[in-house]
Every structure is written in C-alpha cells, then in structure tokens.
C-alpha cells in the first residue's frame, strides 16, 4: 500500500507542476501586453513599469516560470493589477464563502440522493426506480444557474421572503447566512443530487447482486439488517469516494452560481478578474481552485486505499 501511496502522490505532484505551467502560460497567451491590457484606461507609465517589473515580465520566459514557481511555493502569487493587493490575501478572503456554499450544496445533494438512490436500488425495476432515474437524468441536463433563476423567480421578491443575492458570513450571523446561502446551495445541490443518485443507486445495486448477500439472506438475517449491515457498509466506500469527488467538482463548479447570486467567493472573484483583465488574480484563482481539486481527488484515492481492509492488511 505504501508503494501505491508514493506513486499516487508522485503523480499528483507532476500534474500539479503541469498545472502551474498552464497557469503561468495563460498570462502570456494574452494577445498584446497583459499589463497594458490589465491597466486599461487607468494606464499610467509609472504604474505600468512597476507592475511589469513586479510581475517579472521583463525577464526571459524560463526564468520567469521558475521565479513564479518559487514565489508560489512561498505563498506569493503577485499583486492585483486593480487594487495592488497581494493576490494570496484576496484569495483567502474569498475562500470561506466558496467553501460554505460548496459544502452546503453537497450536504443538500447527499440528503436527497442517499434515500432516493438506495430506494431506487432496493425497489429496482419498479416505478420508483424508473422515476428516480428520470429525475436524475433531468437534473443532470439542467444548468445549475437556470435552477437558480427558477428559484429566484419562485422564492424571492414578491413570491417569497428569501433574498435573491448577497452574503453574510457564517461566523457573524448564522441565521442570515442560512437565509442567503439557501438558494444558491439548492441550485448547486439539486444538480449534485442528480449525479449522486445515479451513482448511489448503481453502487447499492451492485452490492445487492453479490453472493455474500445471498449468503446473508440464506442465514436468515432480516432483510433490513442485511441492507444496513452488509450492503450499505460495503457500498459505503465507493459512495464516499464519489461524494469526495463531487466536493472537489463543486469547489470549482460554483462559479456561475456565485455570479448569479452575487456570492463573493472564489468563483465570483474569477469572473471579476476576467472582466477587469486582472491577470494575476485570475492566475491565482485558477491555480488555487485547480490545486484544491487535485488535492481532494488525491485524498479520496488515499482514503479508499486505507479503508478497504483487503488492501491495507496486505
């Protein structure tokens, strides 16, 4: 198992390096001079030169890359073209909002998908099963921001009492945070639920078909206990991994929903950086989100290896 861990971590490191290369290259693919473009109408010779120097754009490419890498490792991701604020600082200001949205959305998704998926598997080949499959097909076909729009139409303004946008941090006022996070989390969570339902259904169905379930049935264990003790426990690991992957996906996938609901997280930040041509910030968000995505996937894989006794006890 240790060999597996080493190999997997090594692979992730290589990919991460590749990611930094891509992110680094981004700024150089901008047609024209990124700093000039970034400053736009606020162009000013002195600021231009200073930012150019700070971004290291006056040095040869290769040197730039390693310098970028070196700085990134120490937590220096440059400064915003817009505000001059260190990118790293901005990122960590915005991270909690995205985290709270993604986690809440995922929880909603799991709360819906879990009973639905298990029920569909246990009652498979009945209308419950077909219904669940159609619903999840539908859920996967809807853009999350469209669900958001529908929710806004249905539950805010004159139709309801929930706020259509804005943010209150969890730590300062949980209730208000709750009221504000509900709609965006639902938008994200419903799509998540669809994906998870399909997977949970398949995972449970697979376990139900296994020989050891027949043995448990033959032994006389009550059906509900077989489900709980044998099927669910064994399906737990694959289900956990997909939930983990979903979390990773959500962290990078809430961009549009954040924009729709003016939720000040990394997604909205990314969008704003694009609009404002603030390339260092854009690089920063892309790097951070991709890195988190990578790390979460890695952790899920490692967790899988650790939990399954067939692998860890060898």
């Amino acid at each position: 198992m240790l060999r597996f861990i080493r190999r997997r971590v090594a692979q992730s490191v290589i990919v991460l390096l590749g990611v930094t290369l891509v992110v680094f290259t981004l700024i150089h693919l901008v047609p024209g001079d990124p700093v000039r473009v970034g400053l736009g109408i606020r162009f000013n010779e002195a600021t231009y030169l200073a930012l150019r120097h700070r971004a290291g754009l006056d040095k040869p490419l290769v040197v730039q890359y390693f310098s970028y890498l070196g700085h990134a490792v120490t937590g220096d991701l440059g400064v915003s073209f817009q505000t001059g604020q260190p990118v790293t600082q901005i990122l960590f200001q915005r991270l909690p909002a995205t985290l709270s949205l993604a986690v809440t959305g995922l929880i909603i998704g799991v709360l819906i998908a879990f009973p639905l998926g298990v029920l569909a598997a246990v009652r498979h080949d009945t209308w419950i099963d077909s219904g669940a499959r159609v619903i999840s097909q539908l859920g996967v076909s809807v853009p999350d921001f469209f669900i958001g729009i529908l929710l806004i139409l249905g539950l805010t303004g004159t139709a309801g009492s929930l706020p259509p946008s804005g943010y209150v941090s969890l730590t300062s006022d949980p209730v208000e945070w709750g009221r504000h996070v509900l709609l965006p989390a639902l938008a994200v969570g419903l799509v998540s639920a669809s994906i998870l339902t399909r997977f949970i259904r398949t995972a449970v169905l697979e376990e139900l078909g296994r020989d050891y379930v027949r043995t448990a049935d033959a032994k006389g264990i009550p059906a509900a206990t077989v489900l709980r003790r044998h099927v669910m426990r064994n399906a737990f690991v694959p289900v956990l991994t997909v939930v983990g992957v979903q979390l990773a996906t959500l962290l990078g996938g809430v961009i549009v929903v954040e924009v729709l609901f003016a939720w000040p997280g990394l997604g909205l930040l990314t969008y704003q950086a694009v609009e404002e041509r603030d390339y260092p910030v854009l690089q920063g968000t892309v790097l951070l989100i991709a890195a988190i995505f990578l790390v979460v996937n890695l952790l899920v894989d490692l967790l899988y290896a650790v939990i399954d006794p067939r692998i860890s006890l060898r």
Binding site: L26, S141, V142, T158, F199, T202, V245, L282, N297, V300
Partner: protein
C-alpha cells in the same frame, strides 16, 4: 487498481471484459446499426430524445425561415410583454419576440456544441491513438498532459481560456474543444490498449501490414462504439458549457442569440419578465436531456462497461 477519482474519467481497460462482444472484437459494427434501432424502439424516451434532436437541428438550419419574426426585429410598443397570442413566448426589453429568438438561437448553441465537440473528437482520438498504439514515451507524455487538463474543473478552464483569448463565439469554441479533448483521448487510448494485444492484430503486425492500415481496419472500429456514446453525451454537455459561458457574457456576444446569451440578457429582468429566462432555459434543458437519453441508450448497445464510472462525477 483503478483509483477512485480516475474511475470517473478513465474507462477501465480490463482485459477480462474487454474482449467481449462485437465492438471489442474489432469487427465493424455493421450489425450494431440494427441493434441501435432495436434499442431505440424499446425505449420511447430515447426515441423522443432523437426526435427532439432532429427538431433542434432543423431549427438550427432553418430557424430564420421558420421563426415568425427576425431575431432583431424590434417592436417598441411591445416591450416586456408576457406570453400572448401575438407573441407566444412574450417579448424582451427591446420588444423582440422571444419565440423567434429562441428558435433562431438554436443555430448558435448547436453550432458551438458541434464544432467544439467535433474538434475535441478529432484531437482526442488522434492523441489517444498515438498514446495507445505507440506506447511508452508517447503514451506517458500525452496522458500526463491529459491528466493536467483533467485537473481543472470544466468551467474554470473554459473561463480561463476565454479570458485569455477575449470573449466571443470562437473563443468559446476553442475553450470547449480544449476542455473536452482529454476524455476522448482517454476513451480512445483504452480501446486501443484493449485491442492492441489481440492475436489477430499482432499477426497483422508481424506480417508487415502498415500501421495506418492496422489502425484503420482493426483498431478504429473497436473505438467507434464508446466514442459515439461519448460524442452524444458531450454534445449535450457542451451546450451546457456554452450556455454558462454566454450567461457570463463570455461566449456568444449580443446581439447574436444563443440560449445562454438570452439568459444573459434576461439577467436584469428576472423579476419583471420571467419568460425571457424560462423559455431559453427550457430549450437548453430539453436539448441536453435529449442528448443524454440518446447517449444512454447508445451506451447500452455500444459500450456497457463504462456505465458505472461515468455516472459519478459531473464529468461529461
């Protein structure tokens, strides 16, 4: 052992299950056309999906003829009116007929989807063939690059690329093509690997049949099945991605309509004019659902072993 996270993007090239069935045996899927027809008939939903897709294609090609009004015909006296006999889907803030715009928008939405997925398919299959067939260094290098692309969430990468290239329909197409190339590469590579070791392929190699012919005659037919399935699914998801990009103002630019761009227009008027957002949105849902249903039905015929894995992450 396939790592769990890779499960959702990497097709399992399991030798035990690989060499089963017509598709895997490298036999050209002539009989499969009949199988496809049979499956579609038995699943009315998939058949419905196919019909909807055909409808959308018709709209995309002949939209301007079919629509009652032009996409930019402005009627100042009828701004922001709800659905009525004159305007079935209502009018937008400039007095334009929403129904006409939805019909005409099919063109841009489908064009972006088809072109970008087409490009991703060509690039992905090519890379997958190179990686799978020539192995070793080419394989490692190409697949590491694909891994790097996979490390980015779809929207993030698409936005970043569009940001760099400048907003617009061609940037969107390029971005989507780049984002969707890796999945085609992986599928192709897996199929190539499963077939490469078959005895008849090795026999062909040993008697000196040129690579080109081996690939064309033995390997590609085996790849065709999963690729077709993936294409159908990706076409649907590409529409979603384009819609998201356009909704952010980064894709199709006004005044050209695409369903996503119409949602962008609708942003400021959600409370006052629900029809501006709902109808384009429904068009998107209907079309993507159709591609998914057809793709699922095709998967049962052409590639049953990948079912479990792809269903997991939102990875199209």
């Amino acid at each position: 052992m396939t790592t769990p996270s890779a499960q959702f993007t990497e097709p399992v090239a399991d030798p035990a299950t690989a060499a089963t069935g017509d598709a895997a045996a490298g036999r050209p899927s002539a009989g499969s056309a009949r199988d496809v027809a049979r499956v579609l008939v038995r699943r009315p939903l998939a058949l419905g999906g196919l019909l909807v897709i055909c409808l959308m294609v018709v709209l995309a090609l002949f939209g301007t003829q079919i629509a009652p009004n032009g996409e930019n015909d402005v009627d100042v006296s009828q701004m922001l009116t709800g659905p009525s006999a004159k305007h079935w889907f209502g009018t937008d803030e400039l007095g334009r007929d929403v129904l006409s715009r939805v019909i005409i928008a099919a063109h841009a939405s489908l064009e972006v989807s088809v072109v970008s997925v087409g490009a991703a398919l060509v690039a992905g299959v090519l890379l997958g063939l190179l990686a799978g067939y020539y192995g070793r260094f080419a394989d490692s290098f190409i697949m590491r690059c694909m891994d790097v692309l996979f490390a980015f969430p779809v929207m993030l990468l698409a936005i970043a690329i569009v940001a760099v290239l400048g907003a617009g329909i061609s940037s969107a197409m390029i971005a989507i093509a780049v984002v969707y190339t890796p999945i085609f590469a992986r599928i192709t590579r897996a199929s190539v690997l499963s077939v490469r070791e078959e005895v008849y392929v090795r026999a062909a190699v040993s008697i000196g049949v040129p690579d080109r012919e081996i690939i064309g005659r033995h390997i590609l037919p085996n790849v065709a099945g999963p690729i077709i399935v993936q294409t159908s699914l990706s076409l649907g998801f590409a529409i979603l991605t384009e819609a998201a990009l356009s909704f952010l103002g980064l894709g199709v630019q006004p005044p050209q309509p695409s369903w996503g761009a119409m949602l962008y227009d609708a942003r400021g008027f959600v409370e006052q004019a629900w029809w501006m957002a709902v109808f384009p949105g429904l068009a998107i849902v209907l079309t993507v659902l159709s591609f998914n249903l057809v793709g699922d039905a095709l998967r049962d015929v052409l590639d049953p072993r990948r079912r479990t894995q792809l269903e997991a992450a939102g990875r199209p």
